[in-house]
């Protein structure tokens, strides 16, 4: 509740939408089944619409969350009653229409909310729908993302996402997929998608271009909460899940240090290290130890270990050698331009700048502003004219305000 109290009125509903929408939808879906997924989404959306219409007039209720749950419960009840009467009138000859379903109260207890979300997470990650649709649907249902935000995350347009989600929902219906945890061997397969979704949600918060620190932090916390649900359940408490949770703890330990009061990004080297959260660093360490069982070494393990080294303040040779070797392995499992660039930076610290320059020039990431920012960095001490040129090129390619500002700062130093 602490977060709620210090929030502007205008931010409260979006905040609750982020945290409560998925809970309400999950419980409703669990109640009605996937066959009525749209109905569940409609009831949940109507509930928030009611809040948006009522609260500005009558004031914010003392218990906003409980208010939302109550409204959702009533809407579900009304719907079921209408449905029941309708079926009775239209088909009076059909007797024994189950009364139970219409009268059973929607169970919005913390336990059922938790179970429903976890089951929902795994139902959505069913192999009958393609992975990108699984992630899209998870972002929509479990994270309350708007269609546009999902389109942004996938670097595509709204129509594509709408179609993709529509087909996925249809498939869930056709296949009569149950909202329940799959059998054990299946869990591991679906866990991969679940983790990817959580990772995407976290990244959306951590690297978002939005200046609203509160909302960004919330996304990160929600991602950690979802991951924590996986770790707390014995069936889903796998090393990869612990590794991801550890990674997110290490990363968020710098949350307060990396964004200033105006919402501007502060670079790693310039952060006030007393603002790093020692508690989150130690929690990250705990989950990293939990992750170090069995013989699987996932990309989350490698990224968590890199994140661990990044929480070490001292700039030692050992630190950079470790980071370099972790990136070497990470890139073999999964390539990404940002990992390639970070690996080259680590190379300059662990080996030599000259070697890093040679390697950087092979990357050819010529549309990526970070590529030129890295080259600028590598040339800084030896060839300031070339360094400046690279920073200028980076500035021309930078998309966000924060990135542009960081490049301008670099250029002004020459």
């Amino acid at each position: 509740m602490g977060v709620l109290l210090c929030m502007d009125k205008g931010e409260l509903i979006p905040h609750l939408f982020r945290t409560e929408y998925r809970k309400i939808v999950s419980v409703l879906c669990k109640h009605f089944g996937f066959g009525q997924m749209e109905l569940a989404e409609d009831i949940a959306s109507d509930t928030f619409l009611a809040a948006a219409q009522t609260w500005p007039m009558k004031g914010i209720p003392d218990q906003p969350t409980a208010w939302l749950y109550n409204v959702a419960k009533n809407k579900a009840k009304n719907h079921l009653q209408r449905d029941h009467i309708y079926s009775k009138k239209i088909f009076p000859e059909i007797k024994n229409i189950p009364v139970a379903a219409s009268e059973a109260e929607l169970d919005l207890s913390p336990q059922n909310i938790n179970d429903s979300q976890l089951q929902m997470m795994f139902a959505i990650c069913h192999p009958s729908i393609p992975p990108e649709a699984q992630i899209g649907l998870s972002l929509r249902i479990l994270c309350g993302f708007g269609i546009e935000e999902i389109a942004d995350a996938f670097l595509t347009n709204k129509e594509t996402i709408n179609k993709r989600l529509f087909r996925a929902k249809e498939k869930l219906r056709e296949e009569k997929i149950e909202i329940a945890l799959p059998p054990l061997p299946e869990i591991e397969k679906r866990l991969e998608t679940a983790l990817r979704t959580i990772y995407l949600l976290f990244s959306e918060g951590y690297y978002s271009e939005s200046n609203n620190k509160t909302i960004r932090k919330e996304l990160c916390i929600e991602a950690m909460r979802l991951c924590n649900m996986l770790v707390e359940n014995t069936c889903t408490n796998k090393p990869e899940a612990n590794a991801l949770l550890s990674l997110m703890c290490f990363q968020s330990s710098r949350f307060d240090a990396r964004i200033d009061k105006k919402g501007e990004l502060i670079l790693y080297e310039e952060q006030d290290r007393s603002l790093w959260s020692a508690e989150l660093i130690s929690t990250g360490g705990y989950f990293l130890r939990c992750a170090s069982v069995g013989d699987s070494l996932s990309k989350y393990h490698l990224e968590a270990m890199i994140a661990f080294w990044n929480t070490q303040q001292e700039d030692t040779k050992e630190k950079w050698e470790n980071i370099l070797q972790l990136y070497n392995r990470l890139l073999q499992i999964e390539y990404s331009p940002i990992a390639a660039l970070n690996r080259t930076y680590a190379l300059s610290k662990a080996n030599t700048k000259q070697e890093a320059i040679t390697e950087a020039e092979k990357l050819k990431l010529e549309t990526n502003h970070f590529y030129y920012a890295l080259l600028g960095e590598l040339y800084t001490d030896t060839d300031s004219a070339t360094a400046k040129q690279h920073f200028q090129k980076a500035l021309s390619l930078a998309k966000t305000h924060a990135d542009k500002q960081a490049m301008q700062k670099k250029i002004s130093k020459f």
Binding site: Y327, L331, Q332, Y335, A339, A340, R343, T344, L347
Partner: protein, 117 residues
């Protein structure tokens, strides 16, 4: 884009290096592979152990080996993506295996299962 296998051949598989030297080679190998992976050109790779090596010959004659009679032994391989054999050769030139006198890296294009090759 084609796929190539870079095969490491060691002139003398019996040679044993000092642990410190092995550690240096290990780092160089990891940095070399990391550099290829950073260009999104790495597919897979592995080292081949000399322990328990056997050679199965004509008429299923099994010998311990391949040491002794055969001069060159295969120590490992990596598979890479490359636009041309020249690019694959450039990758091969960076291999720390070549620091050993007489060692070679053989570059071979991997057959596409397209019915032609």
């Amino acid at each position: 884009m084609d796929e190539f296998m870079l095969i490491f051949r060691h002139q003398d598989g019996n040679k044993v290096a000092a642990p410190e030297q092995i550690q240096i080679w290990m780092k160089q190998t990891m940095d070399w592979i990391g550099g290829i992976a950073a260009q999104n050109k790495f597919i897979a790779g592995n080292g081949l152990l000399f322990d328990d090596a056997r050679v199965v010959g004509h008429h299923n004659v099994v010998t311990n080996g391949p040491f002794g009679e055969i001069k060159e032994t295969i120590g490992g391989y990596i598979m890479v993506k490359a636009d041309s054999v020249e690019e694959a050769v450039e990758f091969a030139k960076g291999s720390p295996v070549l620091q050993g006198d007489g060692n070679t890296v053989e570059v071979r294009k991997i057959a596409k299962r397209d019915g032609i090759h």
